[in-house]
Amino acid sequence: MMTLKLRVILAVIFLLCWIIVISKAKKRQLELKYAITWLLLPLVIFIIIAIPGALEWMAGILGIYDVVNMVFFMGFMFSMIVIYTLTIALSRHSDRIRKLTQMIALDEFEKRN
């Protein structure tokens, strides 16, 4: 059972999340690609929570007894997905930095000789 208290707390958290993300995106400290993730994620979770019965249905399918646990499980899964995509992005970035470093070094060599 999910209490009203929990729903309200979650809604407030999501709203705060939105405010912070939009603020960072405005200041160009958060790139748009990732800002979209942080904006859409709470929205998706909120919609799932708001649709009556959706949470219960999902909990039933997964064999979870208490619906509140479903909320936590969802949050956990989404966190894992976000972390995973971050590691992919990081891998790409470190690869590009390596390429740049090598090119700069070889350019510098050319200039010297």
């Binding site: 939009i22 995106a25 405005k26 160009r28 748009l32 979209i36 390429k99 740049l100």
Partner: protein, 232 residues
């Protein structure tokens, strides 16, 4: 007036020679620079072979990064006017001096070549036109200004806008967003009718899945840009 044509090119080996020759032929008052966005085909070889003026990026940045490099070049070498001409042959260089004169006479910061004022020439696919109308209305809602062709890549920037874009430019699908950026920074922008051609060869980089991402990303980007508020 020192005038520059920025030609971003990613894997345009089929079109790049035609595009550059077309520009050399039909836009004589303009310098040009091809920005090779780390093409994986033989675009670079073609540029070298023909001794074209180019800058070659060591890694692929995407259209935003490539065009921004062009604006950095324009700022560095002190150009009064910079205009983007796509490497796929859709833009007709004969409009460029008209745009430059229009910018100069009316003391504008930016001139956008719009396909949809006179509705002549290549009008793009139906789906794209729906998207374009959507952005026109969104921009009008957020800034009050009507831009009939917000996705047009044919845009000419004066010194102030060159500085602005050299500093800040979106990474992908930059056109609608940068129109809002320019508007909110108090730039004077006007559109003139132009005629564009269909893509001459090669393949567009925008697929169906990317179109959805485009709509969502650009919508959010425009809203955030509008939230940054107006500056003098």
């Amino acid at each position: 007036m020192k005038k520059l044509i920025i030609i971003p090119a990613y894997n345009e080996s089929e079109n790049i020679e035609k595009t550059v020759e077309d520009i050399k032929e039909n836009a004589k008052g303009f310098d040009y620079v091809v920005i090779n966005d780390c093409s994986t085909d033989d675009t670079l070889e073609i540029l070298k072979r023909n001794n074209y003026n180019y800058v070659s990026l060591p890694i692929n940045l995407g259209i935003g990064g490539a065009v921004q490099t062009g604006y950095l070049y324009a700022k560095k070498y002190n150009y009064d006017v910079a205009v983007q001409v796509d490497g796929d042959g859709q833009h007709d260089p004969t409009f460029l001096s008209k745009m430059a004169d229009y910018l100069d006479e009316n003391n504008l910061d930016m001139v956008i070549g719009s396909r949809f004022i006179d509705k002549e020439g290549f009008q793009s696919s139906f789906m794209r036109r729906v998207g374009i109308v959507y952005f026109t209305n969104l921009i009008k809602l957020l800034t009050g200004k009507t831009i009939t062709d917000p996705t047009s890549g044919l845009r000419m920037a004066g010194r102030r806008v060159i500085s602005l874009f050299a500093e800040n430019y979106p990474k992908d699908y930059p056109e609608p967003e940068t129109a809002v950026t320019a508007i909110n920074n108090g730039m004077k922008i006007k559109e003139i009718p132009v005629i564009m051609r269909a893509r001459q060869g090669g393949v567009s980089s925008i697929t169906m899945k990317k179109s959805v991402y485009y709509m969502v990303k650009v919508t959010i980007a425009i809203i955030i840009e509008a939230l940054r508020g107006k500056k003098k």
